[in-house]
């Protein structure tokens, strides 16, 4: 019995250790890691949702964990966030229009201004205006992801955080969403941080990559550097799992074109 009780005592698991990362305005960075690497935890820390046990977090010029929790939204509302898994991230009881308008609630806008912003966001993600009246259950996976992106950019954030923005999507939808995200990033000139396990897709969403492994940054640099000259064992294993397929498979000639 005592044994069992002792096992219940709280233990801390280090999810992220000594991670340093800075992203400047207008920059696109990808954080790459497999399940359990700590990549989603990192996003939560930046979003002001999870106080780190050690270290400092500066978001848009503010040390957010020194700001009282009730005031923190004044900084974090300037962030746009696309959560993982579009199929579960939309409130099934709200219409798409209300979902997209959520980030505007603290902005002191009139109803008509809000509506206009929502329409502009929907247009930006190339959804038809008719979906505004739909409930999420009527949308396809690609449309759900577009709605989530619209919600993340409706308030024109200065920092855009994307958690696995394409991994739940079909490949052809993934390609569409990638080009959409890049167009939005360019238009808003915001910093864009993408968290993903997919190294190949990440090269289209970022100029710089950070590879996380068990909570530690094992690799950082441009994609071409990492592909050409990986420094860590983990990155080598990861690369092999992509490139072996390419070098052996008949797709290799495509690379030349």
């Amino acid at each position: 019995m005592a044994e069992g009780l002792r096992a219940l005592r709280r233990r801390y698991v280090e999810v992220l250790r000594d991670v340093s990362l800075s992203v400047s305005r207008g920059e696109r960075v990808a954080v790459i890691g497999e399940s359990g690497s700590g990549k989603t935890t990192l996003l939560k820390v930046v979003l002001g949702l999870l106080r780190p046990m050690k270290g400092e977090v500066v978001v848009l010029g503010h040390r957010i964990y020194e700001i009282p929790e009730r005031e923190r939204w004044k900084v974090t509302r300037r962030i746009g966030y696309v959560p993982q898994d579009p199929f579960r991230a939309l409130n099934p009881r709200l219409k798409v229009a209300d979902i997209i308008a959520e980030p505007l609630s603290r902005l002191n806008l009139s109803e008509s201004e809000k509506e206009e912003r929502v329409r502009a966001a929907v247009k930006m993600v190339q959804l038809h205006e008719s979906v505004l009246d739909y409930y999420p259950s009527r949308l396809s996976g690609g449309m759900m992801q577009r709605a989530l992106i619209a919600r993340a950019v409706v308030h024109e954030p200065e920092l855009l955080l994307l958690d696995e923005p394409t991994s739940a999507l079909d490949v052809s939808t993934q390609a569409q969403v990638i080009s959409l995200l890049n167009a939005i990033q360019e238009k808003l000139n915001c910093a864009m941080v993408t968290v993903t396990h997919d190294l190949a897709a990440a090269q289209y969403l970022a100029d710089r990559a950070v590879i996380l492994h068990k909570g530690v940054v094992v690799e950082e640099g441009s994609f071409s550097e990492i592909v050409r000259n990986p420094k860590s064992d983990h990155a080598r294993v990861l690369l092999a799992s992509y490139t072996l397929g390419v070098s052996e498979g008949p797709l290799a000639p495509l690379g030349a074109t």
Binding site: G142, V171, S172, T173, S179, L199, S241, G249, G255
Partner: protein
């Protein structure tokens, strides 16, 4: 030439409320014995339904038309289905997510026992012996997994265990439905290499369902591409990847990001049509940049364009 699978104008639909939704619409194809055959498509293409039809695990509310032969036995004829002596004996199945398919209340060893006892009346001891052989073959240490419950194993180990379980039935036609899509990148490669090795060791016919053209390229000898329930292109993998004929196939190849290769990703606007809104013409009509007048009104017939190479497109 011995055929492992032969489908003739096979259609599979599901009864939903008042409607009948056709997920697979009149597909014809053949898989040779010993071949590695990939069915590639996106969600809603019908690829998993074809897999279920071959493996004999269509739900009771499914409706079928056409004919399907597995291992030389007629299993689907019109709306009649009979997999007796085929399911588990001639054809076996690896699910997409083994974590959700293995019984959470049974230790791995017992999962083997229930399958093998049901199929061949093996005793617990005999089943355990057999499990050891196949787990080892799948690259697992039998001692470390036999007495474990599924939740105690990692994703990669579970998928290996599921493969071992599928092979232990002795069936030589293995249907694997996206067995790697829930795995991390480095595990994905391991599972693909495992399947390749087992295929030659055991002499399997491998029917692999995936949305990943790259993976299909590494693994298979022939590729079948499905879109909205239709088979749009079937041919030798190398030829299809080098010079795809159907505009959808070429899009599928060019929209996949390849590491270390910077080229624009090609994706025609739009998404696959809903099952309920099938038009009269080519299913790809709305998205196709090469569409002709005929495409709007008539479904293109399947045309033979080379040796065991077929395409359904009015361009050819």
């Amino acid at each position: 030439m011995v055929l492992a699978v032969e489908a003739k104008r096979l259609s599979v639909g599901y009864e939903e409320l008042e409607e009948l939704l056709w997920a697979v619409r009149g597909v014809s194809f053949e898989v040779r014995e010993g071949e590695a055959f990939c069915i590639v498509g996106e969600s809603g293409s019908g690829k998993s339904t074809v897999a279920s039809a071959i493996a004999g695990i269509l739900p009771p509310h499914a409706v079928t038309e056409g004919e399907l032969r597995v291992g030389g036995r007629l299993v689907v004829k019109g709306n009649e289905r009979d997999y007796e002596g085929v399911r588990g004996h001639l054809v076996t199945y690896v699910p997409q997510s083994p974590g959700a398919s293995l019984n959470p209340y049974l230790e791995i060893g017992d999962q083997f026992y229930y399958v093998l006892n049901n199929l061949y009346g093996l005793s617990r001891k005999e089943a355990r012996e057999k499990a050891r052989t196949y787990l080892e073959m799948a690259g697992l240490d039998p001692g470390a997994v036999l007495d474990r419950y599924p939740h105690e194993l990692s994703g990669g180990m579970l998928q290996r265990a599921a493969i071992a379980l599928a092979l232990s039935t002795g069936a030589k036609i293995l249907v694997a439905d996206e067995p790697t899509s829930s795995l991390d990148a480095h595990l994905r490669l391991q599972i693909v290499q495992l399947l390749k090795r087992l295929r030659s060791e055991v002499g399997l016919t491998l029917i692999f369902i995936t949305h990943d053209m790259l993976l299909a390229g590494v693994l298979s000898e022939r590729i079948a591409v499905m879109y909205a329930g239709h088979l749009v292109e079937v041919g030798p993998t190398k030829e299809v990847l080098r010079k795809p004929l159907h505009p959808y196939t070429s899009m599928l190849i060019e929209c996949v990001p390849v590491l270390g290769v910077k080229r624009p990703l090609k994706a025609y606007a739009g998404e696959p049509p809903n099952l309920s809104e099938a038009g009269r013409g080519c299913p790809f009509y709305d998205r196709c940049p090469f569409r002709l007048e005929a495409c709007a009104s008539e479904i293109p017939p399947v045309k033979e364009v080379g040796e065991s190479y077929y395409v359904a497109c009015w361009l050819y």
